[in-house]
């Protein structure tokens, strides 16, 4: 919406510049987007949905006068209609007043359609429109002046001397002013003559009945339409016009005659002679009644937090067009017809304080709460995880919440995808079932930027559905490239899976989450390098080397190690701190080197050790893994050290030898190990 401050001065005694007004209007709620014109006198702004009455110079002038007590809003002088001595037979019929609360129609014969005079062309352009001809331009100017959209028809095209406001019949057609043909139905409200639709009510006129250079007789419509009907039609047909924008938000039903009179006044001036109305009818089946809002004395002060003089408050409301009656402990405030948004006392308080000025509000903090706040455990957990990972070298990433359907496929194993009905595109059509595909893409982006060390994590929601939609929070991590760069002290150290596991283990230990690692297979990971993680016996996630197929699909050739976990599952069994006296007896260490079949995994060896473990075996470590020279091809050579400590006494060297000897003998027997 644009306001021309030069034109505005015809209706209000404002003396200042456009620039000054632009500074000042935001303080009452009109936010200025831009200032146009060589004189910087045209102000452009967007309205908020509740104030369609600002879509006019009258509306803005009224607001300015409400704020500035020295200014007076004076609507333009409107001469009375001149009725023709012999009125034309014609009728206006509203089929359903619920759709159309008021319809005024007027006919002027003997009109000359021509280009607008310079003042009108100039003003129309400043207001952001294209000048067309005197009739159309005047019609537009009326809308910008008093806010009410008119429509003007070429009377010749109207058949049967009738204008009927009705719902369209199924499959009725109409070619609109812009050349589009629309197929109509009972959801659309049309203006029709005795035979056919001639306009989409409140939206756009038909091409056939539009005013052209050949037009000599016109029918002027000034009407009010029910906002939801207009809105539904606009949505269904994909249309949006200056008129529909206004009708959707609710026009002033009491304003239709003013608009009509403005049109006739300017047409008469343009034609250079007084104009008679050959026909005039105002159908007003649903007369407007003011709404009365009860405002308790003291409510405004209580809501704003400042004491305001009641007389000034009443004056503000009156200058805005409200009627105020004092009634003992409260006021009865009646709303003007152009305010469709005021329904309760809070709305009135906003009017008062907005004009009084928000700068008069105090700025104080509310008194502190007396109760302790409840910590958000999930958030604290996220922060702890985040700080730990950051200290260990990880960068946090945030990806979109949706991805392509095939990115979900390796992860949606037991449930189905949640999809969007109106996504931005196919790549954004599925709510993600896992975070890792996003991290994989992030790896690729940063590899392209020549980053050598990439360590990423994300905490975010993932989605799936069974009967209902489910959201849960996951933690995902991915590393690729080299952990340490080559420098004068050390060669480069590329990431490998065992190192990545070590990083995860550090996190789990920091958070005191006991987990188990199990051999596993998962479609996203390389079958030769994949483990499942369980916590409290329940599955909590998978880790591994991302399968090369998936990596190559995003253009990554290097290995990526990654894992994704269900945060709730992972954190459900965290161990509390408690004291346990440590064993103070001395340790003894015994080493054991052996050959093992390559078909046996370390995890299986671990299981056997756990199963056969003597009570005094406190710890064991893998010191060396060797294959090659001197070792049979199907075997691997391992060197381990075992640490023994007596529970309740010092073990002698001979005792340890005996325990160790028996243990490794049984271990060797179970797994076919050959001692070296």
């Amino acid at each position: 919406m644009r306001i021309d401050t030069v034109f505005l001065k015809q209706m209000i005694n404002y003396e200042g510049s456009g620039t000054e007004l632009a500074e000042w209007l935001p303080t009452i709620g009109i936010e200025i987007e831009a200032v146009h014109g060589s004189d910087r006198g045209v102000l452009e702004f967007e309205i908020t949905p509740n104030r369609p009455d600002w879509l006019s110079h009258y509306g803005v002038a009224r607001e300015i006068a409400a704020k500035e007590r020295s200014l007076v809003f004076t609507p333009l002088d409107l001469p009375e209609f001149i009725m023709a001595k012999k009125p034309l037979p014609f009728r206006v019929v509203i089929e359903d007043p619920a759709d159309c609360a008021r319809y005024s129609g007027a006919i002027i014969l003997d009109i000359k359609v021509k280009p607008s005079p310079p003042w009108l062309r100039n003003l129309i352009e400043r207001l952001g429109l294209r000048p067309i001809n005197n009739v159309v331009d005047i019609s537009n100017l009326v809308m910008f002046t008093c806010g009410h959209p008119l429509h003007i028809f070429d009377l010749q095209i109207l058949e049967k001397k009738e204008i009927r406001i009705r719902r369209a019949k199924t499959n009725e057609k109409l070619v609109l002013l812009d050349g589009q043909e629309v197929i109509l139905g009972p959801d659309q409200l049309v203006i029709a003559d005795g035979r056919k639709p001639v306009a989409l009510a409140g939206i756009m006129g038909g091409q056939a009945s539009g005013v052209t250079d050949a037009t000599t007789t016109i029918f002027i419509e000034s009407a009010h339409f029910h906002p939801p009907v207009i809105r539904r039609s606009c949505r269904a047909l994909g249309l949006k016009t200056d008129a529909s924008y206004r009708f959707e938000r609710g026009m002033d039903v009491e304003n239709t005659i003013t608009a009509m009179r403005l049109a006739v006044k300017w047409l008469a001036e343009d034609q250079g002679k007084p104009l008679e109305l050959a026909f005039f009818q105002d159908r007003y089946p649903r007369p407007w009644k003011p709404q009365v809002v009860r405002l308790e004395k003291g409510f405004a002060d209580a809501l704003t937090g400042i004491a305001m003089d009641p007389r000034s408050s009443i004056e503000i409301l009156q200058r805005l067009g409200f009627g105020v009656k004092q009634r003992g402990g409260h006021w009865e405030v009646s709303t003007p017809s152009f305010r469709v948004d005021v329904t309760g006392p809070a709305d009135l308080v906003e009017e008062i304080i907005r004009i009084h000025g928000y700068e008069h509000l105090d700025a104080e903090l509310p008194p502190q709460a007396g109760t302790a706040i409840v910590p958000n455990r999930e958030r604290e957990l996220e922060m702890t995880i985040g700080q730990h990972l950051v200290a260990h070298g990880f960068y946090e990433v945030i990806n979109y919440v949706f991805q392509a359907p095939e990115e979900n496929r390796p992860f949606q194993l037991e449930s189905a995808d949640v999809r969007l009905k109106n996504p931005l595109g196919r790549d954004f059509s599925t709510m993600k079932a896992a975070l890792l595909p996003g991290l994989l893409r992030n790896c690729r982006h940063n590899v392209d930027q020549n980053v050598k060390r990439i360590m990423l994590f994300e905490i975010g929601k993932v989605f799936s559905r069974n009967q209902a939609v489910q959201e849960k929070r996951n933690l995902a991590l991915a590393v690729t490239g080299e952990y340490l760069h080559r420098d004068w002290r050390q060669p480069e150290a590329p990431f490998d899976f065992h190192h990545f596991r070590g990083l995860l283990d550090a996190l789990f230990r920091h958070l005191r989450w006991p987990v188990e690692w199990l051999a596993s297979k998962h479609p996203f990971f390389d079958p030769a390098c994949c483990l499942a993680v369980t916590a409290g016996g329940k599955p909590a996630g998978h880790v591994g080397r991302i399968a090369s197929g998936h990596a190559l699909a995003v253009g990554l050739e290097q290995g990526v190690y990654a894992g994704e976990f269900d945060l709730e599952q992972l954190s459900a069994n965290s161990v509390q701190r408690s004291f346990r006296m440590w064993n103070r007896f001395p340790v003894s260490r015994r080493d054991f080197s052996f050959l093992m079949d390559k078909t046996i995994s370390y995890l299986q060896l671990q299981r056997q050790i756990d199963g056969l473990r003597p009570e005094s075996l406190e710890n064991h470590e893998l010191l060396d893994v060797y294959e090659g020279k001197g070792i049979p091809a199907e075997k691997i050579s391992l060197a381990m050290s075992f640490t023994y400590r007596g529970r309740d006494k010092t073990l002698s060297g001979e005792e340890v030898n005996e325990i160790h000897g028996r243990f490794i003998a049984r271990l060797a027997e179970q797994l076919g190990l050959i001692q070296r």
Partner: protein
């Protein structure tokens, strides 16, 4: 007997003196010490052990000799250690402590989460709790309960993602539904902030992404006023942007607040007259977020009596805060997850 012992001891002293002359490092001294004083095999230790085999009468005299040897060696070893600290390193082991350090990996939070946690902390200090809610929401919690009337254009201003196969479900367009859920589950006094992801069907460009983050606040109690809201927002601006930044609190409109307001802060790059100013484009003011007194209908929808309680709500875009505070030229950089920007700002 005594002479034999004396000669042996002299021999050991000569041998030691010779070895001492070849000492070049602390390592060498340690080895010498081990050689002479180790419990099992030390030479001096051996002499002390042999004292037992000497007849009792002679023991004191022998003991004096052996002690003399011990003192001789141990004093000289101690004396040899001090100068080693000051001596230049042994040949073949040059070092220079100004050589480059070996950098260890250090990570960063994502700038949006970093900004979010700073804002959270500010409000936690004022006694606000952090509340959370689902990202897939019902139309009821996202629109209806917040006084967005059906068919009203205000619902259009927020282009919404709808979930397929679930006609009432959408991706939430703001974090206000968290406030609704909280109000429905708790009695006043209520003091919460609700940070989180929100979704609008916007094609990504320099200032819009379809996924972004908001943080909203809600305070409901007896006697809460519009002045309290203004005070809270001014306090936030002072703390977050610094004391030199001015604020402007001006009227606005939201379906769920009445009266409503927008808060602007003064541009900290230009005084408001530079149309090329990358932050404010010459307006001189930057919008940071909307707010208002909770609409009585919204309170009623949540089972709170507006005659007894009042409240305010405010919201800010975290992306917007990040752009204002740090000058990020294009929002999409934050979602490309380019490590260079995460490193700079996280």
């Amino acid at each position: 007997m005594m002479d034999e012992l004396r000669n042996e001891i002299e021999e050991v002293k000569r041998s030691f003196a010779d070895e001492l002359g070849h000492v070049q490092s602390h390592q060498d001294i340690a080895l010498l010490r081990e050689k002479y004083f180790s419990r099992k095999k030390g030479i001096v230790t051996g002499f002390f052990d042999r004292l037992k085999t000497i007849e009792t009468g002679r023991r004191p005299q022998a003991g004096k000799l052996v002690n003399g040897l011990r003192a001789f060696i141990s004093e000289r070893l101690a004396a040899a250690e001090a100068p080693l600290a000051a001596r230049t390193p042994p040949r073949g082991r040059w070092t220079d402590c100004t050589l480059p350090l070996s950098e260890l990996p250090l990570g960063h939070l994502h700038p949006l989460n970093f900004v979010r946690s700073q804002i959270e902390e500010l409000f936690q200090q004022l006694g606000y709790e952090i509340a959370d809610g689902p990202e897939i929401e019902s139309e009821f919690h996202n629109f209806d309960a917040l006084n967005f009337l059906p068919e009203h254009p205000a619902r259009d201003e927020q282009d919404t993602f709808f979930v397929a196969d679930f006609p009432d479900l959408i991706l939430r367009t703001h974090t206000s539904p968290v406030q609704i859920r909280y109000m429905m589950a708790h009695r006043p006094p209520i003091r919460i902030i609700a940070p989180g992801k929100v979704f609008r069907k916007d094609n990504p460009d320099a200032t819009h992404t379809p996924v972004f983050h908001q943080i909203e606040g809600l305070l409901v109690d007896r006697g809460v006023t519009f002045s309290h809201l203004k005070g809270t927002l001014e306090h936030f601006v002072r703390r977050y942007f610094g004391p030199g930044i001015r604020t402007r609190f001006r009227p606005s409109y939201f379906p769920f607040t009445e009266p409503s307001a927008e808060t602007d802060i003064s541009c900290f790059i230009c005084p408001g007259d530079d149309p090329d100013c990358r932050i404010c484009k010459g307006k001189g003011w930057l919008e940071i977020g909307g707010s208002g007194m909770v609409h009585p209908q919204v309170l009623r929808n949540c089972g709170i009596d507006p005659a007894r309680y009042s409240g305010f709500a405010f919201g800010m875009g975290i992306e917007r805060m990040t752009i204002i505070k740090y000058g990020v030229p294009d929002l999409r950089m934050l979602y490309d997850n380019d490590l260079r920007i995460i490193e700079q700002l996280g």
